[in-house]
Symmetry: C2
Subunit: 189 residues, 2 copies
DNA sequence: TGTACATCAGTGAACGCGCGTTCACTGATGTAC
DNA sequence: TGTACATCAGTGAACGCGCGTTCACTGATGTAC
């Protein structure tokens, strides 16, 4: 495990992540990844012997990075409404929403992918639950979990209906969405 | 346009819908459809000259049938909680949820598919809005629309988080989900 | 009632293409003595 | 400080496969006269 090897591997995952985001899972072929990373097909296979290895690696890394980006937003510092708006603005990147939609579809056909996805959303939900707990300390833990679950459903459902996939954005619906989502996070400050 | 031709066409769409539901979009190949319908590849091409024609036709028919199944549930006859529970029980079929996930992913890569999807959800949302209007006649129309929009986000988000794709079902979260969704529909009876 | 003919329904073989995978190979880098 | 050798990094060509599409063809069904 040399420094060069680690770096190359990261470059290949960069290329894979770029393709997955911009062009989708169907376009995530070994040849496309190799070409994007300016590497020969056979060489890519040296690092990822089978396509499944590459897919698993890029999935893990992409979701871990997503969580790193989302977790800092889920702090009690801001008012719930502000927090929800920030969270929703993360959905402004169409490529990202498209990618999530593809991962959901993938999870439906591949139990290993589904397990990784559930792990990601478990972490996400735990952050939300902790936030609710901070805001309403007297609320039983089970209720915090339940509210966090519904909050997550709502936010991820919103991704579909604010991105053009299932509907276009609407200011009126957004206002109601923010109100409902903020209400789930706890009493407004 | 003979009766035989119409019937054959329906049989082919049946086969395509079955594959799309059970095995997903990637498995929706012309050879698989022809084989399922017990028809030769060349013959399938006679009815659907290009794959895109078949995909468009099966998408239209599948969503139209979905709406026919969902619309009767969205009547003011039942209490909101009961109605929401019935709606959620429609998500008990894993194949169906998987298929929706695939259609969302598809919509992200194909604007024609996205347009069909948006049309479907426009109709769906209109039904919900009408239901809310019945239940709370004094509510301005814009508010009905906004609430219906959030309701739809929540229900579709719930599909992801109750099917194993993004999370497994939880009784506690379900209870909170029903409460929030029913609240959006209007005052409880 | 029969005949000619156009259209509809269905067959079968082949095409070029991109895919994941395999494999034998070469050059560079590190390591043991 | 040099040498031998194992491991790492990278190349290039070929494979079998399934895909959508094309096309020439045959048989069945309807229609006009």
């Amino acid at each position: 495990v040399t420094v060069k090897g680690t770096q190359r591997r990261a470059e290949l995952l960069d290329a894979a992540e770029k393709i997955l985001c911009e062009s989708g899972y169907a376009a995530l072929t070994l040849r496309a990844v190799a070409s994007t990373a300016a590497v020969r097909l056979g060489h890519l296979q040296y690092y990822f012997p089978a396509r499944a290895d590459l897919v698993a690696a890029v999935l893990q890394r992409t979701l871990a990075r997503s969580l790193e980006r989302l977790a800092p937003l889920l702090t009690p510092a801001a008012a719930p409404e502000v927090l929800v708006r920030r969270l929703l603005s993360e959905q402004d990147d169409p490529d990202l929403v498209r990618m999530y939609a593809e991962l959901w579809a993938l999870a439906g056909r591949d139990e290993a992918v589904a397990a990784v996805m559930r792990g990601f959303y478990d972490d996400y939900r735990a952050h939300v639950a902790a936030l609710i707990r901070t805001r309403e300390p007297s609320l039983p833990d089970a209720d915090c979990q339940a509210r966090a679950g519904v909050f997550t459903m709502l936010i991820e459902g919103a991704a579909l209906f604010r991105s053009g996939l299932a509907a276009h954005r609407s200011a009126g619906t957004d206002a109601e969405l923010v109100a409902v989502a903020a209400g789930l996070l706890g009493t407004s400050s």
